[in-house]
Amino acid sequence: MDFLTVLQILDSTLRLSTPLLLACLAGLFSERAGIFDIGLEGKMLAAAFFSAATAAATGSVWVGLLAGIGASLALSGLHGVASITFRGNQLISGVAINFLAAGLTVLIGQSWFGLGGRTPSLIGGGRFEPITLPFAEALSGVPIIGPLYAELISGHTIPVYVALLCVPLTWYILFRTRFGLRLRAVGENPAAVDTAGVSVVGLRFAAVAICGVLCGIAGAYLATGLQAGFVKDMSAGRGFIALAALIFAKWRPWYALYATLLFGFLQAISLRPDVIKSLVGFNVQIQLLDALPYILTVVILAGFVGKAVPPRAGGAPYVKER
């Protein structure tokens, strides 16, 4: 296996990890504030559809991105109303959102475009184009570092860089700002936050909204960056892999990056059976690679490799009078 193949696989790892990372950070904000969110998948799917549909209609990927974020935010709002305002079951609400997105995207897609739930293929300005970072050309002659910089670090679309920047940003917001402290507190002990005179409902809605924005970018990237248009069920379980990564990362931003890179790597390598064979010497079943993120998560959850302890108040609606 040569250097170029390694670069190619790492390159596609980065691209495939991006939606996972964004969705994982989205879940991180929500769950750190005590709102379980198994509707990441649905929000991504809705964002993917509306971004692709809008980008196809307007020809601008940026308008598409906004539409995607808007769609995701709307579903986030629904989740918030159900689980914060009406104190409903957060898990059931998440399940409902997943189905709502799965059904509505096809229904509306068929009604708007009549292509069996697809959107028209995006061309030109309707997609995120790869951007070349400065000095990529100049450095490409340098051995090892040159190709590494030109192939792996440069030449991605903007959401990839946005996702990577979101990691330190999330860390900073959660662990270095007052808002972050309160947000984490509301996921651990909302009564204490309430006693301090800070609105539990406000904080939780803020967290759910941030989750919506990040899921929106993730979904928009799926349809306008990774692929050129929306197809039915295109999120293909990524929301659940992100959820798995979140547990794998034990609800911490930097670990979320590593976990999603690992899961992205598994996705990237499952596309290259020839590489796997040369790497481990025998054929690894594709089905095993597909299932590996889920199996790893179950192992982590089982506490065999360190214990994953979720935020303490997660899943429970806050009742003030108590």
Partner: protein, 372 residues
């Protein structure tokens, strides 16, 4: 807690929830430029207008009774089993192995063996998340979701690499032998002289499903185990104080739940397809969530809700055939039913409770003295 009469809790609130869900579904149909009334007529006609339509409606309903009961049983122990999809898929594997490995002399014996196989595989697939929840405290919702994906990969592997007949490109097992084919509902009703359309997938699994409803009723409300399950679901500390072992109850409840989900495979794998194909469950495991929520986790409610979803499924197929509304409309309705009966229940319940409270205040209280 006599805030409102029982009938309001059991009938009125679910009805309002359901009406809201259907109202929004109607608005969705309106928004995509179709006529909701016309669509409803088509659905009723296609699903209930002929015995042919009923054949499909009852076939789908049979699937949903099993998955609905599975979710409902787990709900009684306050466990949310989202893994019905995977458990039903594994149940299918159990049925396929039973039907293919042994040369059965008659379908009755094969049916008993397949029931055991489907239930056992489903139960075992649910047992792992149950163990992890009971012993290691891993959240059952997350583990059952993960197990759905693992089941899909496992089934894919088994079908492609092990059970696929030689020379076939299709990832499916061989056709089950003739002796394992179940009688259709048409054959069954013929005994009683009731004419029923031929060539529908409804089969005698429906009777097993109805028996399962009765069995679950007795389990939950008439046995010691059922009492323990409900006690654990209401309050874990109280259950422990009463000497109930949460580990044991979680394990047994989830295994019953998994077995019920697995039993669905008798209907779709043994009764209809007569071979195991990829993705045989087709989302029925998830519909079980909507069915259990709508049925308030009561077997009779589950039966009614399953019939309703059977109607929606068959009606949706008819709609897709005659109009430009895709079958995915059913997924939207399903989502709205889950949303309104599950997550947004408090939105309806609180005002209704207030209304009943206000009504009661207005009435004179007979226990109080007249001059106060």
């Amino acid at each position: 807690m006599d805030r409102m009469p029982r009938w309001a809790d059991i009938v009125l609130i679910p009805l309002i929830n359901l009406l809201l869900a259907f109202l929004i579904s109607g608005l969705v149909i309106l928004a995509i430029g179709e006529d909701p009334i016309e669509a409803l007529k088509l659905m009723v006609d296609g699903a209930l207008g002929s015995t042919y339509g009923w054949g499909f409606t009852l076939y789908y309903a049979t699937n949903f009774i099993f998955t609905g009961l599975a979710v409902a049983v787990a709900f009684h122990a306050s466990l949310f089993n989202i893994g019905g999809e995977g458990q039903a898929a594994l149940g299918g594997l159990g049925v396929a192995l039973v039907c293919l490995m042994v040369p059965w002399p008659h379908w009755t014996i094969a049916l008993i063996a397949a029931t055991v196989g489907a239930g056992l595989f489903g139960a075992l697939w649910a047992a792992i998340p149950a163990y992890l929840q009971a012993k290691r405290g891993s959240h059952i919702v997350i583990t059952t979701i993960m197990f759905n994906f693992i089941a899909a990969s496992l089934l894919n592997y088994v079908l492609v690499n092990m059970l696929r007949p030689a020379g076939s490109m299709d990832p499916a097992t061989a056709k089950f032998p003739e002796a394992t084919h179940l009688p259709t509902l048409t054959d069954f009703l013929e005994i009683f002289g009731i004419p029923f359309a031929a060539r529908t997938p409804a089969n005698i699994t429906l009777i097993i499903a109805l028996l399962a409803c009765v069995a679950v009723y007795f389990l939950i409300w008439r046995t010691r185990l059922g009492y323990q399950i409900r006690a654990l679901g209401k309050s874990e500390p109280a259950a422990i104080y009463a000497g109930i072992s949460p580990v044991w109850i979680i394990m047994i409840t989830m295994m019953i739940s998994g077995a019920l989900a697995g039993l669905m495979a008798i209907n779709n794998v043994m009764g209809e397809a007569e071979r195991l194909v990829l993705n045989s469950v087709e989302g029925a495991g998830f519909i079980g969530i909507a069915v259990a929520l709508m049925g308030r986790s009561h077997p009779f409610g589950v039966l009614i809700a399953a019939l309703l979803f059977g109607f929606l499924y068959q009606g949706g197929a008819e709609l897709a055939l005659w109009t430009s509304i895709p079958r995915d409309l059913v997924v939207v309705i399903q989502a709205l039913v889950i949303l309104f009966t599950g997550a947004l229940d408090g939105m309806v319940r609180t005002p209704v409770e207030r209304m009943f409270l206000a009504l009661r205040r207005r009435k004179p209280q007979p226990t109080r003295g007249p001059a106060e």
